[in-house]
Amino acid sequence: MPRFRKKGQATSEPTRLFYACDIHGSEPTYRKFLNAAKFYDVDALVFGGDLMGKMLVPIVRNAGNTWRAGLHGQNHHITSPEELAEFKLKLDTLGFYSFECDSEEYAWYEGHQDRIDAKFDVLAKEKLGQWVQLAEERLAGSHVRIYLCGGNDDTDACLSALDEEAEDRVVNCENRIVSIDDEHVMATVGYSTPTPWDTPRERTDEQIGEVIDKLMADVSDPSRCVFNFHCPPLDSGLDTCMRLDASVWPPAPVIENGQPVYYGAGSQSVADALDRHQPTVGLHGHIHESRGLTNYGRTMAFNPGSEYGEGVLRGLIVAIRSGEVIGHQFTSG
């Protein structure tokens, strides 16, 4: 019996992945994700998309050393630099971007969605760049790699930071086949099917199917491939959410007989790919409220859900060996 074994090979120790997704700009949640490597003693950190925050809070300078900002429908008067730092920390926890400006600059943005979107891209890319650097620092000297990709809510402009900043420990796995141990590879697709929110990276179900097919053409043994697909399989129980009326903004729940209507918002192409390829495991996100697991033949598919707004990192530890899941554990850190 060999004294040392390689990760992932038959009779060897399993490779342990930690998977999380949908943190939407939340600073403490991302930092927890990085620390999960050591805390959970895993071999790789896999992120499943939706890195970018959704809110941008302008902090307007008043006369004197004071500021004002809106949050949760309330007007916040900030009267000292210490309070300002505390307020920004709170925004970081919530995953909100912020910038200081004077009244004129604020007025320049107000009502101009194109300018606001451009500001989002700048701040989100800046933040993602910092996160990549932080990952490189924290994981330096370890064997752990962190695999990052975008989701439907992330813009391409923001995601460009992944290639620009990644060095040794960070791997941009978006739309690529990457190796995760000696015998397993991972296919990553960050797109989702169309949503009522008309988000930046939506594709039709057919287009998602084409992307998956193109990726899988390069995989010799699908049974030893991990699927990291942001969008969950259709009607799997991992994709259940309220049906929303997209004709109003923001989209509102569809109510029938006094009750909200639920439906599966996942992808048929993803479900078909799981059925057809029987990969090692399916890792999915996108629908925060649909935490759970299901099976496609021998393949287990998971969605750990998300509670990034409370600073909670929902995730999944999965141990794989020889193309099989030998253990899993949902986490709520």
Binding site: P14, R16, H24, E27, P28, R31, K32, Y40, K54, V57, P58, I59, V60, R68, A69, G70, L71, N75, T93, F96, Y106, Y109, I116, F120, T195, W197, D198, T199, P200, D235, S236, G237, T240, M242, P250, N257, G258, Q259, P260, V261, Y262, G264, H288, E289, R291, G292, L293, T294, S306, E310, G311, V312, I317, A319, G327, H328, Q329, T331, S332, G333
Partner: protein
């Protein structure tokens, strides 16, 4: 000087999360769970605790529960997740403790409630309704059905159908339940309102005469009330007891068996819209507690006014001492049966009966809803097999957990009605067991700022302090003390709980369920370790730095 307008928060096109159950639905859910139809205070109190004041006892139960309910509001806003008590206790005390307590004292012991809800439906709903219809219409078939419903076999059949229909409704989709809940809510309010109005509009002399007439029509018994009272006196029941302070204090734990459920909505915290908003949780938990306590006091006042102490003691002699002379048609004289005896209108009888039947049905639904969510949470955490956590892809409900609970309930239903003393021992055991969960959750609330600091600091309740002490710590500790008092009463006071049965086996079984929980925990932990996984990871908070 005019205040400058708040700068607008800029947004972009990004997806959002929406939750399901409205705070109002959760508020109704809690009131229905507390069960304004539960008769224990009225039918057990007068003879179990002679001289105890029902009204003061209910008020005390409200005061004892208030700090617990407030502490729960903090927990529910800090951790608005499905699986409530299990999540709270796991977070604060650790997974082994949280799993064992909530599995043993909720998941296992609430099986008793499934049986009990069937018993309530049979004896409180179907039996009185059909007996009343039989008398009002002169159709003997109604009377026969009413009498059958109060027999052991009748209760078993009704209980299993009750559990089966609830299982079918809930697995068909939670929205179907929520929709039907409104029907139950209004039916129960109408029924309860009718009973209260009837009692307020009558007097004890009229009630005694009406009960005589009702017993004559159902059983052919003449001068029923006088005979029942005489038998009760012969059994040693005092009809003129002096006011008893300790007895009044002990009424509170009985009333608490209803009011302790004010926080039950936390089990589906992940499904309540804006569950993290403090005022919503105050409305849902504390608001439902106040309304229910008020309704219970109202019923007590109405009964004392209209039914009177003598008839209440006769009814209580049937319930507490099981004196057959106090039964009518084989049924215990529950408040609604008294009300039904007062009217000759089949419509009024049906309105009363449907309300009580639906509230009984709602209780079995609560058993499923709360425990299956706990089982799903425990399954996802790896402490129960995955099978329990599976959500049906088409129905979107945890069918496996529902099925397991339905099947597990069947032998309990049969034993509850067939095994001698079962209902006495174990129905009282469940009041203790469930109380323990609330007791530890109150303590978890008190320790939350210290044991789950990050979660607490991010919660809306973190800003409330007295001096440097978080308000939730003060409320949690007070709640823990009041809950300990009531749990202790169930444990030690013969008139209330486990001590009444006089059997050591009752305590052994309570301990046995804890051991069962621990055994499952250690087995699952061992299985997970063999897979290279530690279950402790499910509960541990990762430091961000």
């Amino acid at each position: 000087m005019a205040e400058a307008a708040a700068p607008q928060v800029f947004t972009r096109r990004a997806s959002g999360l929406v939750r399901v159950m409205s705070p109002y639905s959760a508020f109704i859910y809690n009131i229905l769970t507390m069960g304004i139809i539960f008769p224990w205070t009225y039918i057990n109190g007068p003879t179990a605790l002679p001289g105890g004041s029902l009204i003061i006892g209910i008020a005390l139960a409200f005061l004892f529960e208030l700090p617990i309910a407030l502490a729960y509001a903090w927990l529910a806003t800090s951790l608005p997740r499905s699986g409530g008590d299990y999540v709270f206790q796991s977070r604060v005390f650790g997974g082994g403790f949280g799993f064992t307590i909530v599995f043993a004292f909720f998941v296992v012991w609430i099986l008793q409630w499934v049986a009990l809800s069937g018993w309530l439906m049979a004896t409180l709903g179907i039996a009185p309704t059909f007996l009343g219809l039989g008398v009002a219409t002169g159709v003997s078939w109604f009377t026969s059905v009413g009498s059958w419903a109060a027999t052991a076999n009748g209760i078993i059949v009704i209980s299993i159908i009750n559990a089966l229909v609830s299982f079918a409704l809930l697995v068909s989709g939670f929205r179907n339940y929520v929709r039907f809940q409104y029907v139950m809510w209004y039916a129960i309010l109408i029924s309860f309102g009718i009973v209260v109005i009837m009692f307020l509009a009558t007097d004890p002399v009229t009630v005694r005469a009406k009960l005589d007439g009702f017993a004559l029509a159902v059983d052919g018994t003449k001068h029923w009330f006088a005979a029942a009272k005489q038998a009760a006196v012969a059994a040693g029941i005092s009809f003129h007891p002096p006011f008893w302070v300790f007895g009044t204090l002990m009424v509170a734990p009985i009333a608490w068996t209803s009011l302790q459920w004010a926080s039950y909505s936390v089990e589906q915290g992940g499904e309540i819209k804006n569950a993290h908003v403090f005022r919503n949780q105050l409305f849902i938990i504390v608001g439902s507690l106040a309304v229910t306590a008020g309704l219970l006091v109202l019923l007590a006042v109405a009964m004392q006014h209209g039914v009177g102490g003598d008839a209440m003691r006769v009814a209580s002699a049937g319930s507490w001492f099981l004196l057959p002379t106090s039964f009518i048609g084989g049924a215990i004289l529950m408040p609604n049966l008294i009300a039904i005896a007062l009217t000759a209108s089949p419509i009024i009888i049906l309105l009363i009966g449907v309300g009580y039947i639906l509230n009984s049905f709602q209780i079995v639904c609560n058993c499923y809803i709360g425990t299956t969510r706990i089982m799903v949470a425990q399954g996802l955490d790896g402490l129960l097999p995955d099978w329990f956590s599976r959500v049906h892809p088409r129905l979107k409900t945890p069918v496996n957990a529902h099925l397991a609970y339905f099947l597990a309930a069947i032998p309990v239903i049969i034993a509850y009605n067939k095994v001698a003393d079962w209902s006495l021992r174990w129905a009282l055991g469940v009041t203790f067991a469930n109380g323990v969960v609330f007791m530890f959750s109150a303590l978890a609330a008190g320790l939350l700022p210290y044991r789950a600091k990050k979660v607490y600091d991010a919660s809306p309740g973190a800003k409330y302090k007295i001096g440097n002490t978080p308000l939730v710590t003060i409320l949690g500790v007070i709640g823990f003390v009041t809950a300990t008092f009531m749990v202790g009463a169930f444990l030690l006071v013969p008139e209330l709980g486990l001590a009444y049965s006089g059997h050591g086996i009752t305590y052994a079984v309570i301990l046995g369920t804890v051991v069962l929980g621990l055994v499952i925990y250690f087995i699952m932990r061992s299985v997970k370790r063999s897979q290279g996984i530690k279950v402790e990871y499910a509960f541990a908070e990762i430091p961000p730095e």
